[in-house]
Amino acid sequence: MTKTPLIEIKNLTKEYDGDIILKGIDLTIHEDEFVTLLGPSGCGKTTLLRIIGGFDTPTSGEVVFKGKDLIQIPSYKREINTVFQKYALFPHLNVFDNIAFGLRMKKVPESEITERVNRMLKMIKLTDFANRRIDSLSGGQQQRIAIARALVNRPKVLLLDEPLGALDLKLRQDMQYELKEIQREMGITFIFVTHDQEEALTMSDTIVVLNDGLIQQIGTPVDIYNEPRNRFVANFIGESNIVDAVMIEDYKVKFEGHVFECVDRGYNPNEAVEVVIRPEDLQIVDKEKGAFTGVVDSVIFKGVHYEIIVMVEGREYIVHSTQSAEVGSVVGMIVAPADIHVMEVGI
Amino acid sequence: MVNKWLSRCYLAIMFLFLYAPIAVLIVFSFNESKSSGKWTGFSLHWYEELLQDSQMQTALFYTIIVATLATAISTVVGTFTSIGIFKLTKKTKAFVLNVNYLPVISPDIVLAVALMMLFKTLKMKFGFTTMLLAHIMFCIPYVVLSVLPRLYAMNPNLAEAAMDLGATPMQAIRKVVIPEILPGIMAGALMAFTMSIDDFVISYFTAGNGVTNLSIEVYSMAKRGIRPTVNALATIMVSFILVSVLISNNLSIKKKREV
């Protein structure tokens, strides 16, 4: 798949009431890409989305869309549509009229409107609901209508601001799947904002991790999960054990008094680093066979696995294992070289 | 930017419209002559005369006392009534609310003649009591209408939680429900006070001969030409209102800071 850049964001900043919300964002978004802006609340992800949508203007920086400066174009003339956080469906219009709103603004002939809206209703499986009032619908139905209302305009880019936040778990998972499907079928770029890392990992082609107004890491879900660039990303994406370590030489890192083989290189000899190990990558073995040992502190059954906390000289290790361990027993732990992720300290 | 300038201008013009008559009242209270159209020179003459004018003072006294009593009584009665209405069965509730709504939507003149006929039929002596009863009649609905929405917005478990923790129903109302709906009660009281102090028509028909209030005084004066003593009185009222608004504003700002 050759990727054509669609939106280029250059050194974007936003100041609001004396607070700097975006501190210089550089980001390129490609055609047909599913991009997720991931971060905790207050990290600036919604602001970034609102700037792309045209509801906020940046303090400085550029947003280029298909080679044109997007900031100068008012939101109602952009080929971009938004699915709002709480849907923002018009309460005075019924389902059909809500979806038809954008087409009517463009003065599309009424016969074509009927056809396109009905097709949308069919897609979201709400054909019988055309004349219903918005407040008579469930959250999940409102959600689909909000998506249909945006998509019926055939935008180049669809912005989604935590659209699944108000739904319960089961519905949310169904919608994640459906959204991904829609995106693939229609060939539209999706920019999706969420604070839910699982959602981000499931749906995205590219994840942009934001914190404190800055991009922490850009990459595929696999990259982000397996090769977090810093402590923040490692902590935010799933559970992880982060350990102080020393890079002895290329491919050799020392922590817990043991030199491990690893796959990382390019650090100075004896440079202090941090090592990330995912809980499922730690393996509990007999204490003689372990690279290092610890005492089992607690065991909690989590359904698919046991969550075992092992204390090693006062430091806590989280281990996910399909096998239980006895609390109070001394165990050994090993980890495969590919599962040791070395990162620089304090980025 | 042009838009902002335009809207500021509009706002200014509208406030000018609203306050011009009040400014006129104030300015001409200091006029030397009796004219309220031509300025002839500064004097405090009308303020001196106001101090001598016992009729005007009585009217002011009745206006304030009726407004205060009517507001106090309707706020208390209206609040407890609302709590009661809240628990009524659907049919009775609809009936009470509809009747409660009547004084709000009926023209003053109709309410006034209706009350006059009632008091005449009951052979009551027209005076302070009839006027006060009339004011309470049209004040309570406003209290009920501003308290009820608060009750509906309240978490229904609050009172139950209080009783669960050992409060009697009355204590639950006093300690939990009333603090929760207080903003509605205050708004209702303010509304009642505004309606009462500004009322003319209903007072006019129910006060009888012995008792007057400011509105009645002004109305009867309007036929012969208004004396600037009234302007002086209006000026004092405006200053009083301004001072109390400023004080209450400062108090609420202080409160917010403490929080």
Partner: protein
């Protein structure tokens, strides 16, 4: 709260029965009594009082009241909506002060404020003094329909602004963003989203202005010089001047019917707008 708290409303039910329901029934009863009998205890029922109303002078009085009330309401709406809009766009802290400034004049006696307009608009009033200063021809506004409408707008404008402001303040800002996002320009955002959503506020405002406007007798008395009769003046005259309570009651009933009818009409209009269905754009 316990079921038994409903008893708190019982005293009020007794109170409204005596002071609201009985008086209304009295009006109804009196409107049906033959005035020639004189003795209300030995009355004869008749519809003569209503028949009497259907003579040209009384009909034209009602028509005139409606006419002036409609114009006043319209003027309040046209002036009040932009005003409510401007206020709603201000900073929340500033908004409450502005609204307070709006209500404050109501605490100063309404008759006084209305009377002050005579000083402004009168033949030798302030307006004409200003015009004279600029060597412009004086205007004679006092004691005209215009003066009455101006007095009504002045007195009732807050009743229009407050509910509309509440309605505008309630409009979810996201809905406006959403409309823009879907391609609506400023004008379309207003006509397709903001206006329909604030319609309930407009309707409340219209009712709140129309009601006192159609029935007031003070404003026409003061600013119309008493020479322009409106239905309110007519009712007042029956009770305080001619002493014909029976005809006065019939007039009150007719006024009430008109008001209930107009409220019903407005409310229906409102629920139609809310009910949805494919709207003709």
């Amino acid at each position: 709260m316990h079921e038994s708290t409903k008893r708190l409303s019982y005293p009020y039910i007794v109170w409204i029965s005596i002071i609201i329901i009985i008086p209304m029934l009295l009006i109804f009863l009196y409107s049906l009594i033959d005035p020639s009998d004189g003795n209300p205890m030995a009355f004869r029922l008749t519809i003569d009082n209503y028949v009497k109303f259907f003579s040209p002078i009384y009909i034209s009085t009602l028509a005139r009241s409606l006419w002036i009330a409609v114009w006043s309401t319209l003027a309040c709406l046209l002036l009040g909506y932009p005003l409510a809009w401007v206020i709603a766009q201000c900073h929340p802290k500033k908004q409450s002060s502005l609204l307070l400034l709006f209500i404050m004049p109501m605490w100063i006696n309404m008759l006084l404020r209305t009377y002050a307009w005579i000083s402004i608009l009168g033949k030798n009033g302030i307006l004409n003094n200003i015009l004279e200063f600029f060597h412009l021809a004086p205007v004679d506004i006092m004691y005209t329909d215009f003066a009455i409408i101006l007095g009504m707008v002045y007195n009732f404008l807050p009743f229009m602004v407050l509910p509309i402001h509440t309605a505008i303040a309630k409009v979810d800002k996201n809905l406006i963003d959403a409309a823009r996002d879907l391609g609506a320009n400023n004008r379309q955002v207003f006509s397709k989203v903001v206006f329909p959503l604030t319609l309930p506020g407009i309707i409340t405002g219209v009712i709140m202005v129309f009601l006192p406007a159609v029935s007031t007798f003070v404003i026409p008395q003061l600013l119309g010089g008493g020479q322009f009769m409106m239905i309110g003046n007519l009712i007042e005259k029956q009770f305080l001047l001619t002493g014909n309570w029976y005809f006065g009651s019939a007039l009150s009933m007719i006024l009430m019917i008109f008001i209930l009818l107009s409220i019903w009409l407005m409310k229906r209009f409102d629920s139609d707008g809310q009910a949805g269905g494919a709207l003709p754009w």
